[in-house]
């Protein structure tokens, strides 16, 4: 039996160094792009639930559809949908970066930063393209 504190399963809190406090931590391309992937992914629930409502209304009949469609295509609905397209393209590119990382590629800091910058530029370009096409 190993003595306490010598196996990984022992809970040892107190003497460990704390991770950097976000409020005094210098923003970096890597951290900011990662946080944005999390924010966009979770914020997409709003547009997703609006789309579910739209489908359920369409299946329910013309009157229910008119209500849901009116909301989704209102100025507020348009704003949510357009921002969500931006969030969706950004999150998709972030997921692509994760898959590339998982394959052992582009893990160097400079390449991760380049990928972060490309995610931000490409997501805006893809959003503009989407808004123009649709």
């Amino acid at each position: 039996m190993p003595t306490k504190g010598t196996v990984m399963s022992d809970v040892n809190r107190g003497n460990r160094p704390l991770s950097p406090h976000l409020t005094i931590y210098r923003p970096q391309w890597t951290s900011m792009s990662s946080i944005l992937v999390r924010i966009t992914g979770n914020a997409l629930i709003v547009a997703a639930l609006m789309i579910v409502w739209w489908f359920v209304a369409a299946a329910s009949g013309p009157e229910a559809f008119a209500t849901a469609n009116g909301f989704v295509t209102s100025w507020f609905g348009d704003l949510v949908m357009t921002l969500s397209v931006l969030g969706l393209w950004y999150h998709l590119l972030g997921g692509l970066r994760h898959l590339v990382w998982d394959s052992g590629r582009m893990l160097d800091v400079d390449k991760s930063e380049l990928a972060a910058q490309m995610m931000m530029v490409l997501s805006v370009l893809l959003t503009i393209f989407t808004v123009i096409v649709l």
């Binding site: 990984m8 399963s9 999390r38 979770n42 789309i51 579910v52 949908m81 998709l92 096409v133 649709l134």
Partner: protein, 123 residues
Amino acid sequence: MAFLTDRKRASGMGSAKTGTEHHWQMMVTSVALLVLTPLFIFTFGAILGSSYEEVIAYYQRPFPAVVAILTMLVGFFHYRLGVQTLIEDYVHGFARKAAIIGMICLSYAAAAFAIFAIVRIAL
């Protein structure tokens, strides 16, 4: 005399849960959504804003309907995994369990409503 091995004592604590399966499911759904998301954006976006009759006729076609069904199914499963990670990072104690259970139920309910609706329109 210790009856438990060190591995067994660690199992279930901290990160020693089902991280591998979670990560693998995230990878599979990510790859699927890499294809599904653009297809959904452009099929759903193309019909959004049309009349009721046009929408019903559109989603009676196999391709837009199956793209929408798969996107809702895989998308909400992907969300269910992602939101669990979010909750695990920021919420602690009983609230963590409650939030994870609540969001998993919301994800599956949303997927079920969407898929039922699309199938009903299509058939």
